[in-house]
């Protein structure tokens, strides 16, 4: 009962108390019944981690004395063997003390066995020790059809070429990917539409193990008067990098010429490519921590202009810089435009920037009902995904504070925090259903990366969460309604091979949805590259229109629901075999 109600009761005479009591009881009963009804229709996100055979644990220091120890934990879904099942790559990073002692942390690649279990194939794949890892994204830089893995690190990046035989080779140097900074976010995208994916890397702070900022040493190393790790404020930032893919297995640094080098050194994290203004050119969004976000409009001819302020996506609705962490894109309003959702630090709110078209965004976080519930938490990995297959993208975000010391403070915040799930109400608002989707998401953890995809090819989107302290969390989407769905795996021919940033418009009766294949996003993580649409009660898809990165459009009609389709650019629906590369395939 709320405090206001208690006041009202105390002011009423006895008969009124009885009357009000009855009303309250009825109201509570009605609310409970309604919640139970909704809950019964909703799927549950069930913790299946223990049964998957995944034993990975992210290394962590107890005190998190340095910011670099709080920022990692990206996770990638990568179908590295192209068997049609997303596999999982967990990044790992040592503590600073370990790193100074020359010790490394082992990342882990888990093969999806298709039966609910996973097998650790890290050693065979050769991806266990890339670096002091932060995050990972997927792209096919050489268009051979085998998804490659890019790991961001303290000290640069590592590009693993997928050899197509279950192994990877570190080709960073030979690809010309020179980076020595604290790389955080990354995303592949073909900004010049030449058919080869380019690579953007956001950098966080200028941080070096041989020059460590002293814990609690200055104002920017304190939180509510408590000594904590330093940064990002007070630390020097680091510019960002854009590598143009030369199409021959090498890249060229074009950051400055393209105008995306971030000379002011904002604290870059979540990164995503998308054509925000529907002009046929890929634009770029970078969530910056404690500094304004970047929204780079692609002007063509290899140049970008930051229009974030004018577009209304740089800062919060009241003009305040926020601590941008993770980023999600989704057409939650069915307008055909992708809006932005950016997770932030506690005492701020996770911001929903509605895409109004024409490179114009409006912060509708409060109107949409996602601001208030997010204020207490430090948010990270996030995505729009159709949790209940009703055809409307819902929202999920994982949380966890950066300062373990916060547990000693009486400021309401805790180091371990629950996750949040918002159900799309189809009217521009969301309902916080975190209490209705199973106990697993209420479990407080120190989460960072989150990757979303159909792990078991059952048409339901599952979630893989990488936690900074301890084991990950595999959430299987189970139960609830029997809504229909459809999924697409795209393969470019003229376009880049993984069809990154291909757009699909799916029409099923009154349901008209748009989604896009994307590299990166969430928080330093990679989602399933397949596109998934919930279809509610529709058992067929009337039509799907594909806008390929090459500019070509393709329409496919009348598809049965509850299946995964493979689409090859220019050929329509094909069998999976036709898009699966051969081991020797190179282009």
């Amino acid at each position: 009962m709320t405090r206001a109600l208690r006041i009202s009761i105390s002011e009423l005479s006895c008969p009124s108390v009885v009357v009000l009591g009855v009303f309250v009881a009825l109201f509570s009963f009605a609310t409970t019944v309604l919640s139970q009804q909704i809950s019964a229709q909703l799927p549950q996100l069930v913790d299946i981690t223990d049964s998957t055979g995944i034993k990975f644990e992210h290394l962590s220091s107890s005190e998190k004395k340095y910011i670099v120890e709080s920022m990692g934990g990206g996770v990638a879904l990568i179908d590295y063997d192209r068997d049609g099942l997303p596999d999982i790559y967990f990044t790992n990073s040592p503590t600073v003390d370990m790193a100074l002692a020359g010790k490394k942390a082992r990342g882990a690649l888990y093969h999806n066995n298709g039966d609910g279990t996973f097998t650790d194939v890290t050693d065979k794949a050769g991806v266990g020790y890339p670096c002091f890892a932060m995050g990972a994204v997927v792209g096919d830089y050489n268009n051979d059809g085998w998804p490659d893995l890019l790991v961001t690190c303290l000290g640069g990046i590592v590009l693993y070429r997928n050899n197509g035989d279950g192994t990877f080779t570190d080709v960073t140097k030979q690809a010309g990917l020179v980076d020595t900074q604290f790389a955080a976010g990354a995303a592949f995208g073909d900004y010049d539409a030449d058919g080869f994916v380019d690579l953007f890397i956001s950098h966080y702070v200028d941080f070096h193990l041989d020059d460590l900022p002293k814990f609690g040493s200055s104002k920017t190393c304190q939180y509510h008067g408590l000594a904590v790790q330093c940064g990002p404020r007070g630390l020097k930032g680091a510019g960002d990098l854009l590598f143009h893919n030369n199409g021959d297995g090498t890249f060229t640094d074009v950051s400055k010429a393209a105008g995306v080098d971030d000379p002011h050194g904002y604290y870059g994290l979540g990164t995503v490519w998308s054509d925000f203004n529907d002009d046929g050119r890929l634009d770029l969004f970078v969530a910056n921590d404690s500094t304004p976000n970047f929204l780079y409009r692609n002007d063509g001819k290899g140049h970008f202009t930051d229009v974030a302020f004018i577009a209304g996506a740089a800062v919060s609705q009241d003009g305040s810089e926020q601590a941008g962490m993770g980023v999600a894109l989704g057409d939650y309003l069915h307008t055909g435009r992708h809006s932005l959702f950016v997770t932030h630090f506690s005492e701020e709110y996770a911001a929903l920037f509605r895409n109004d078209g024409g490179m114009s965004f409006t912060d509708v976080s409060f109107q949409a009902g996602v601001a208030s519930p997010t204020i207490p938490y430090v948010g990270w990995g996030t995505a729009f995904f159709d949790f209940d297959n009703d055809g409307w993208p819902d929202l999920f975000m994982v949380n966890g504070h950066v300062y373990p010391q916060v547990d000693t403070l009486d400021v309401g915040a805790r180091y371990r925090e629950p996750k949040l799930l918002f159900l799309n109400q189809r009217d521009g608002t969301f309902r916080n259903i975190s209490e209705m989707a199973g106990p697993a998401i209420r479990m407080p953890q120190v989460s960072r990366g989150a990757a979303f995809g159909d792990l078991f090819n059952d048409g339901r989107i599952d979630v893989v969460v990488e936690n900074l302290d301890g084991k990950p969390l595999i959430l299987r989407n189970e139960g609830g309604n029997h809504n229909h769905w459809i999924e697409f795996e795209l393969a470019g021919t003229k376009s880049n091979r993984l069809a990154l940033n291909a757009r699909m418009k799916a029409v099923a009766g009154e349901l008209v949805q748009v989604d896009e294949v994307r590299s990166g996003g969430s928080y330093l993580s990679q989602n399933d590259l397949r596109i998934h649409f919930g279809l509610a009660s529709h058992d067929r898809l009337d039509r799907v229109e594909i806008l390929w990165p090459s500019g070509k459009t393709e329409t496919i009609n009348n598809l049965a629901a509850d299946r995964i389709y493979s689409v090859k650019e220019g050929e329509g629906i094909v069998s999976r075999d036709k898009i699966r590369p051969t081991a020797s395939a190179r282009r």
Binding site: R3, K219, R233, G234, I310, D318, G319, F366, Q367, A371
Partner: protein
Amino acid sequence: MISSRVGYLTKVRTRTFEGLAACPLVIFLLLSLLAASAASGENPQEIHRAAALIQAGKLDEAEALLWDVLKQRPENAPALNLLGSIRLQQKRFAESETLLTRATSLTPDFLPARINLSRVFHAQSQIDKEIATLVEAARLAPTDPEINTMLAAAYLKQNDYRQSLEALQRIPAARRPDKALPLLAASYLGLGSIREARALVPAVMSRAAKNPGLLVEFSEVLLDFDLVPDAQAALQIAEKRPPLTSEFFLAMGRARERKGELVLAQKNFQRALDLDPKSVSALQALAHLLADQGKWQKSMELLARCRAISPDSPEVLRKFAATSLHAGHAADAVDAAQQLIKLRPEEAEAVYLLGVAQLQNGDFEQARSSLEKYVKLRPADPLALLALGMDEVNLRDFPAARTNFEQCIQLNPKQVEAYYELGSLSKDQGDQPSAISYLEKAVAIDPGHARAQALLGQLYLSQRDYSKAQEHLTRAAELAPNVPDTHYQLGLLFARTNQHDHAQKEMDQFRKLKEKENPGPVSPGSAPAPTSPPYPPS
């Protein structure tokens, strides 16, 4: 806010008896000595010696001697009185009160014990008890100049000018002490009898030949009642009779402050402080002057000096806490308010001050407790409900916050800040129509409320009502041109309406102001609250 008056009446209301008698302790000790001999006739030598030791500041020795007397004769009223006076000096008020009450009950007509008892109440600002004790003393000695002067001063603390005048009029004119004259003037002026007050001038002038300070005190009274030219005339006479004291410059400064001559006033206050670096009055006057100019930090520093000099002065603690809040030192405000609460646990203003300081310091749970206590004490105070609502917003207890804001409006339908808070709360809860409705009411009550205008403009912008958005945002920018957010919203507005040059200009202005606002790094969680709670009245 700091009281605008640091004048004679304020001093009368706040200070101990040092201003009314050159050395009251000596007087009452002597009185007690005389009375001791008369009243008891027992152990006169020991009592005499103990009084001498107290006068010499040898309290321990005096106490030992008095305990020896009391062991033999526990009902020795003079010994109890002296021991009570020692406890008073030691600020052990409860013990002092017990001893002195015992002395007066043993010997009801023992005047020194009653006077000392009144001082105990005075020191604890228990004015009703002080007056009751002095009335009883005056019954025993109806024309006593000291007792009636003290009684008049006590009545003045309650603004009871008639009783004050009656007490002073009981003193035969020939025996009227110098210090009674300013009190008499204050009593007349309080009753609106300016002519009678002015009629005291010849007497003041006559006595000022021997007591130049009297002119200053008299002028202070005149200043208290806004008779600035009269006060200045008195001070001009005093100026010709050096040496000029700290009090003179303080009064001169106050006169100039009233006339708006702030630079000269500040110089006078500084001079007063130079002459008496421990003058709490001068420090407070200077602090007030600086606070009026928005120099809160400097004002706070001066009040910190006052605190060091008079650590237990409720008045100083109150002002220090309030000024600290304005200066952005909420933790210091909490500290002072907590000390004030220890001294005045049931004082409503102290509770409110503590609550607001805790709110500003981010101690939201504690603030709720304090503010709820205050609301119980003063349920009809709309500002308290407003502050409580603001605290509850921070505690994310939105229903309770809404209730308090609404109750605040019921008590004061013109409370614009409550409408603003309700608008802001509604906006945060996604209810834009309600938010707009509340904010429209806010700007109807006060079109000069820049934050309400800005938020209203932002909401209209969000609703794509560009005409209304421009109206309110432009007004907000006129009212508060240096608020970055307003320029950000205007930038967005112009971008939406394809006025790209204007948009760029506003965004440039936004960035410029933002850089100015945050020149250095700020750690997470250290940002100040966007809206200040209603600060306590002075």
